[in-house]
Symmetry: C2
Subunit: 438 residues, 2 copies
């Protein structure tokens, strides 16, 4: 006969209570019967760490729970679960380590921490036998961590491809739909609150690389430092690239791409051409979307708001209910222990194979196209389509030529472009975009 | 101090071992360490009910486990969980009821049973305190049940819109892409194994209605008999409708649509025009996709293979691991008890509001368009766009006129079309398609 379930509430402490934290409080308290139905017992918020006791908070929060002293959350033996929504690297990492060492379950929405110290946090949680849940850290309201976990329960994930940065996707969407320049689209995103004052992490691809490294750990069991990934942002995309892409029935999206090749893992982040009719090509604005392909499952796509306070709060609360259920059931740490990962060799970019879009700005002289095609051909890269833009340029003016290649090795393409760099007819370096066919 | 976790395996019996069942056996047995990592203990297949002992099975299955006697699964007190992959209504329902009464957890991929006896099965499982899991029953490899459950853990689901029948979606895709007639596209789907010999349930919308009634129960807590839903199939879609849809930058998709209005629930299944640039409009072939909109979460879309043996097996195994985890943790029935639903009034079709595409086949006489526009206007329906197809017809030949309306009440539109039915210039009844703007 199995033991009777406990009846006392699961107790939790919050680290931080900004807009995501306020959403968490609201969602946890507005329908306590629903929470009880799902967890078996109520969830009780015992203490909330904030920086400023005087700041206005959501009305659902009892002001007496506020404290500015982290140890009132971390050292209280009556708190079983810590929900971290304060963000930042320090002192947050230290707080989470202390919570784990005190055998508390941890829920976090902190992408930066996961990407930089995820392995460390996971190992510590696994050793302590507690849960570490982080759905909100990867894709806001996109339930990708959960979907990966379930797909992986019995299947093998072969690839993960996604639009994981809402800011970049918004910028590319506005460039295409409204004909904006990159700078104007970024400025618009900032004005609407979709981009930070310093948008480098988003527009430069760093944020997407952090997310990809977390997804690769979950999906492929590959511990990879995001600093080792090949990362390109969208800064070099020009309006003319959108026009050419449309002409070939493609759209430009910024993708995070991961493939498990068994011996090696391929992880790269860069803008791509995607067929207009593909689902990912139609995920617009600030939405995120991730396709995972399972050996048995086939393709499975999840899409939603990749950021935003309320969507993130929904993910955090889902995690909190999971962790609470495990605490009630006496199986704390089981889900987290199931995450297995190890260092895996990354595939070198030169070794990847795909199709390419290459835009050349060249002097309009006889023999130029033959010279380019010759160099590519020598490297084993064959051209599938070639288009020259607009009317014939005036003598001495540069011409724009775009080539789409058949599948080729990146190393061969780069070698050919390297050899062309010194050619007298090259007005500026060739622009290369990879083509993904889902 | 919480009790130590049990160490003996979770024991299960299979009802049926066709292609889905074979996939389940394979996924459960090929990496037992992975299963143990996720559940805490191994899962052991104890008995497998089949009709024919002599038939070849997957090599992973020990032939000594086979039986043709259902009671060897259902009456064995040592079997804790029953996985039903035999399909059909009888004796399957009876088997599942017996399993529930014997306090066994139940996993089923049987959509027909869920749609016809879901309420009965759930009530019985809730009363018995056992789990009833059915991810595989709704969308094959699309993790929609799980996503709904998690979104609902703290949020309110406002709407559910999806492509939930792969056969209809394949037929519409082939009509559009290859210019096939409906009959030819259906024949092709049958030749490829995507449609049954009798495709009525798929093409007629009945299958989609069953799935929508299950999703409405989970998402809105609304117990609705699928026979009460407004259901139209794709039989009346003509190639000309695809051409007009393209011209207006739409695509035709067969949708299941649910909205929770608080006082009433809107549930309907029919073909729709969707903007070409929307994600759902680009979900092609046999893929399924469902968008749910949560009050806090916003829109969240999940897509994948809606049918197929292996994707369905992945969903079934995910469910089996969940149920096994609950058995190990001593919280059997908790997830299932959290599903709350009640009878809710359905919104009448006449009361829904949307935009409309209406195709008229009329005699090419002066005053016809004025007469149609007048009738619509009298009913309060205003026209947004109007297009006449092709060259001016020969005298006496019918003309095709398509109108797109502004938002209007279905009742008003139907009243106007009813009044027009008797007009002498009407060559055939008007064809109406609703327009959805996600």
């Amino acid at each position: 006969m199995l033991p009777r379930m406990r009846e006392r509430p699961v107790t939790c402490g919050l680290l931080g209570c900004g807009t995501v934290g306020g959403g968490v409080v609201r969602l946890l308290t507005r329908d306590p019967a629903k929470v009880t139905r799902r967890v078996g017992v109520p969830i009780e918020i015992r203490r909330v760490l904030v920086r400023d006791l005087g700041k206005a908070r959501v009305p659902e929060l009892d002001g007496r729970l506020l404290t500015t002293d982290a140890s009132e959350v971390l050292d209280d033996p009556d708190i079983e679960m810590v929900i971290e929504v304060m963000g930042g690297a320090e002192p947050t990492l230290d707080h989470l380590m202390r919570a784990i060492d005190a055998k508390k379950g941890v829920v976090t929405a902190n992408k930066l921490l996961l990407a930089t110290a995820g392995k460390q946090l996971l190992e510590r949680a696994q050793a302590a036998g507690v849960d570490l849940a982080f759905e909100g850290a990867v894709g806001g309201g996109v339930p990708i961590v959960r979907t990966l976990r379930e797909a992986l329960a019995s299947d093998r994930v072969e690839s993960i491809t996604g639009i994981v940065n809402g800011t970049s996707n918004y910028v590319l969407t506005r460039m295409l739909d409204a004909g904006l320049s990159l700078d104007d689209a970024v400025a618009e995103a900032q004005a609407r609150g979709y981009a930070e004052a310093d948008p480098t992490m988003d527009v430069g691809g760093g944020d997407a690389a952090q997310k990809l490294s977390i997804l690769a750990m979950l999906g492929f069991g590959a511990a990879a430092d995001y600093a080792d990934l090949h990362v390109e942002g969208i800064q070099a995309i020009a309006p003319i690239d959108h026009r050419f892409a449309e002409r070939f029935a493609y759209r430009i999206k910024h993708l995070a791409i991961g493939r498990d090749h068994g011996d090696e893992v391929e992880l790269r982040v860069h803008p791509c051409l995607l067929p207009q009719r593909s689902v990912l090509a139609n995920v617009d604005g600030v939405l995120n979307a991730v396709t995972l392909t399972g050996e048995a499952l086939g393709p499975c796509l999840v899409s939603g708001q990749g950021a935003g306070d309320l969507p993130t709060a929904v993910s955090v609360v889902s995690d909190a209910l999971d962790v609470a259920r495990s605490l009630v059931a006496g199986v704390a740490g089981l889900q987290t222990r199931a995450i297995a990962y190890e260092a895996r060799p990354l595939r070198a970019m030169a070794a990847i194979e795909t199709r390419y879009y290459i835009r050349f700005t060249v002097l309009d002289e006889p023999g130029v196209i033959a010279a380019i095609a010759g160099r590519l051909g020598d490297a084993g890269v064959s051209i599938e389509q070639l288009v020259q833009d607009g009317p014939r340029p005036e003598p001495g003016e540069p011409a724009t030529v775009v080539m789409l290649t058949h599948r080729a090795r990146e190393g061969a393409v780069q070698a050919a472009l390297g050899a062309l760099r010194e050619a007298t007819f090259m007005v500026e370096p060739a622009r290369l975009l990879r083509i993904e066919e889902p």
